[in-house]
């Protein structure tokens, strides 16, 4: 591909590390351009360059924004490979090491399922930067009378990317649901780790097709990863959307929904349907899961 970064800066404001740091060094545009130069040997991988490239949380939020269609995250990954240092130590709260102020309670012990409540692993970005998603999720669970416990810990994704060790926040074999798809990617090698999508199958009388993709507005921007994980050949044969009422959603999902040739399934608090329809007039069929009545409505 001969497309080049036109340096428009459009990708910057959607990046959580840029939003928190207010520093171009921790922005997608900065990382893309630095990555290019690290790969071509024009800029040495000094400590702040390494910090810039490692602090990308791989949330994939930037990629769909780029008007040129660049794969920013892939550039970051390629550049990282030039200086990976394997680190077998088990550090938690990786984000705090990257200039992100992790405000969550430090999780020390290990969780076990105990009283039968659902163990939820939101992921530090969800807890720290996208509290809204978590709030909606817990409201939903409360509304359904499902007891839950939140595991307030980091998944070590950035460390894992450096070759570090993943430290499970739960006792071996304990089942827990991971909300953030990046976290899911990093934790999933272990038996008890389940992606939040399957939670819906457990709780609702619906059988999701194998190609279902769960998209939450803020936490799981790793659509690319999840798509890969579930081996969907064409992205978005079916999209599941959870919570989509901020202005951001239009930007984020526009492209994906355009690609969704099949059905679109909306997991939503229903008042947003009108908004949804106005944003995505071309989507013809909806399946809306009414959480409260546990019914599936179709249009």
């Amino acid at each position: 591909m001969n497309e080049r970064c036109v340096r428009c800066g459009k990708c910057n404001p959607v990046c959580p590390t840029y939003r928190v740091s207010g520093n171009e060094l921790f922005s997608p545009r900065g990382r893309y351009l630095l990555g290019e130069r690290v790969l071509s040997g024009k800029i040495p991988a000094t400590s702040d360059v390494v910090k810039s490239l490692l602090s990308c949380t791989d949330c994939y939020l930037c990629n769909p924004i780029c008007p040129v269609g660049l794969d920013i995250v892939e550039m970051v990954h390629r550049a990282r490979e030039t200086f990976f240092v394997r680190d077998e130590s088990c550090s938690r709260f990786s984000l705090s090491g990257f200039g992100i102020d992790y405000k969550g309670e430090k999780y020390e012990g290990k969780m076990s399922r105990g009283d039968g409540s659902v163990l939820l692993f939101p992921g530090c970005l969800v807890i720290d930067s996208f509290g809204d998603t978590l709030e909606r999720l817990t409201e939903l669970l409360a509304c359904l009378d499902i007891p839950f416990v939140i595991i307030d810990a980091c998944c070590n994704y950035p460390d894992w990317f450096k070759g570090g060790k993943i430290c499970l926040p739960v006792e071996e074999e304990t089942e827990f649901y991971v909300v953030c798809s990046s976290a899911y990617i990093s934790l999933k090698k272990d038996a008890g780790v389940r992606y939040f999508l399957s939670f819906f199958e457990d709780v609702f009388p619906v059988r999701l097709p194998d190609n279902a993709v769960f998209v939450q507005e803020e936490a799981s921007r790793s659509l690319g990863l999840i798509v890969a994980d579930r081996q969907i050949s064409s992205p978005g044969d079916l999209l599941l959307i959870f919570q989509q009422d901020s202005g951001m959603v239009h930007l984020l999902f526009e492209r994906l929904i355009q690609q969704a040739r099949g059905d679109v399934l909306v997991f939503e608090s229903f008042h947003n349907l009108a908004v949804f329809r106005s944003l995505f007039p071309d989507v013809h069929s909806y399946h809306i899961i009414d959480f409260i009545h546990r019914e599936v409505m179709e249009s």
Binding site: L25, L33, I43, P44
Partner: protein, 450 residues
């Protein structure tokens, strides 16, 4: 290069919000068009720190370059002779929404899109909308006097700035006008900072004017065969106070036709996207009255929100189309009196033929601001590009126009400045600059040479 001792002083003021590391210096060495590396970058968090930095710079004589989001098209935030980049990204708080006075007080690093969506939550509207509003800052918008699609009805950034707090190059902090909608007390000094491209003072706080958010829209895509209709159409659109009047020029239309086969009006050489906004059925009434007075044009009217989005998608597709068809070229944003747009379009066709280049033009026909993208192959001689640009600017000025409608001069158009500004005017610019910035430390080398 700034000296060791200066760096030590900066470290004292900014602590770990000072840096001169390799990666960071690179990250602050570009905007959307130009490149040039600083010697250091600082991230102040309040106006006091800005003031301390500028006093030091005036004392020691080193350049300071204010920077917002670095989305500028003319190199305004690029160091041309090294120095310290003053990033305003951390001063990004929304400070106060005053719903009685309809004002919003913000720090300069706030992203314009965040400001717009914040006030939208209260049914209010901050109209300025450069195409970069989702990723540029209020400070950068004020410093460039940015404008956008809705300028034809609502005006540009300057029309929404009530009060400013500015730190002068010498370090003095001055507030202008606050929440006043009118003020006839003393010189209106506030306005010299709007559009000053960060050369006269650093904006550290702004009071923005808000208006009620429109609730209804009426939108149509109008196609017409030749330039002759544009003049009448655009003037009718203006007299009815349309909120958008966007023109798409000849070379772009056929490609759009392919991309949106069934949506575009037939027999079209030029397209105009016209929108009215307001309340109740007024927008629709205005659109109907406009369309009824034109026979020679064909049009598509949006019947609902989704069709409206579709029409806007066509307009949004213009930049991608140009990008795909123009790998090498320059882009200008000239402005002429609105009634001269047709003559300008005709001239662009002549220019295209004379220099054997391809010109893609589009823009804000309603306010006379045209984006002119001149494309050529890589071997096209530099000298000819200069000749072409000079011819373009001379024609623009002869029509009563100016070099830039919204992007500013920066380093991009400095060499052509005297085509537009008289000698006396440039002298006055220099005098003003010297009064405010006696040692020439603030954003040197921009707009004009000192």
């Amino acid at each position: 290069m700034i000296s060791r001792s200066i760096k030590t002083c900066l470290r004292k003021i900014f602590g770990d919000r000072f840096s001169d590391e390799t990666g960071l210096l690179f990250a602050y060495s570009y905007d959307a068009k130009f490149e040039g590396a600083p010697d250091a970058v600082v991230f102040p968090v309040d106006s006091d720190e800005v003031s301390r930095l500028l006093s030091l710079a005036t004392e020691e004589g080193f350049p300071v370059i204010p920077r917002g989001a670095g989305t500028g098209q003319t190199g305004g935030s690029i160091p041309v002779e090294g120095g310290v980049v003053l990033s305003l990204e951390r001063m990004n708080r929304i400070l106060e929404l005053d719903r009685e006075n309809l004002t919003l007080t913000v720090e300069p690093g706030a992203i314009t899109g965040d400001v717009k969506s914040y006030v939208a939550g209260f049914g209010l509207y901050y109209p300025p909308d450069p195409a970069s509003y989702e990723f540029s800052t209020i400070g950068g918008n004020i410093a460039e006097n940015a404008g956008g699609i809705h300028a034809v009805k609502y005006g540009v950034t300057a029309n929404y700035v009530l009060g400013l707090e500015v730190v002068l190059p010498t370090g003095e902090m001055i507030s202008f006008s606050g929440k006043l909608y009118k003020n006839a007390t003393g010189y209106d000094l506030r306005d010299i900072f709007i559009g000053s491209e960060g050369t006269l003072g650093v904006i550290t706080r702004a009071v923005l004017k808000l208006v009620p958010a429109p609730e209804a829209y009426a939108t149509a895509l109008v196609g017409f065969p030749d330039v002759s209709s544009i003049r009448r159409l655009a003037s009718t659109v203006r007299s009815l106070s349309a909120s958008a009047c966007e023109l798409v020029g000849k070379n772009i239309v056929p490609i759009l036709m392919e991309n949106f086969p069934s949506t575009l009006p037939p027999k079209t050489s030029y397209l105009m996207l016209v929108e009215f906004d307001g309340f109740g059925d007024e927008p629709k009434r205005l659109l109907d009255s406009m369309l009824s007075s034109f026979r020679e044009v064909s049009f598509v009217v949006a019947r609902d929100d989704s069709e409206r989005e579709r029409l806007w998608d066509i307009r949004r597709n213009v930049s991608p189309v140009i990008r795909a068809n123009c790998t090498c070229g320059v882009s200008e944003d000239i402005v002429v009196p609105p009634a001269s747009v047709p003559e300008m379009l005709e001239f662009l066709e002549e220019l295209q033929a004379e220099f054997s280049v391809k010109i893609f033009s589009f823009g804000h026909a309603g306010d006379g601001n045209l984006h002119v993208n001149i494309c050529y192959d890589e071997l096209f001689p530099e000298r000819q590009i200069e000749q072409l640009l000079e011819a373009l600017f001379r024609k623009t000025v002869s029509l009563g126009g100016a070099l830039s409608g919204e992007h500013g001069v920066g380093i991009a158009k400095k060499r052509f400045l005297d085509i537009y500004l008289s000698e006396e005017s440039i002298r006055l610019h220099r005098r003003l600059k010297r009064i405010l910035d006696p040692r020439g430390i603030l954003n040197p080398g921009k707009i004009f040479d000192e």
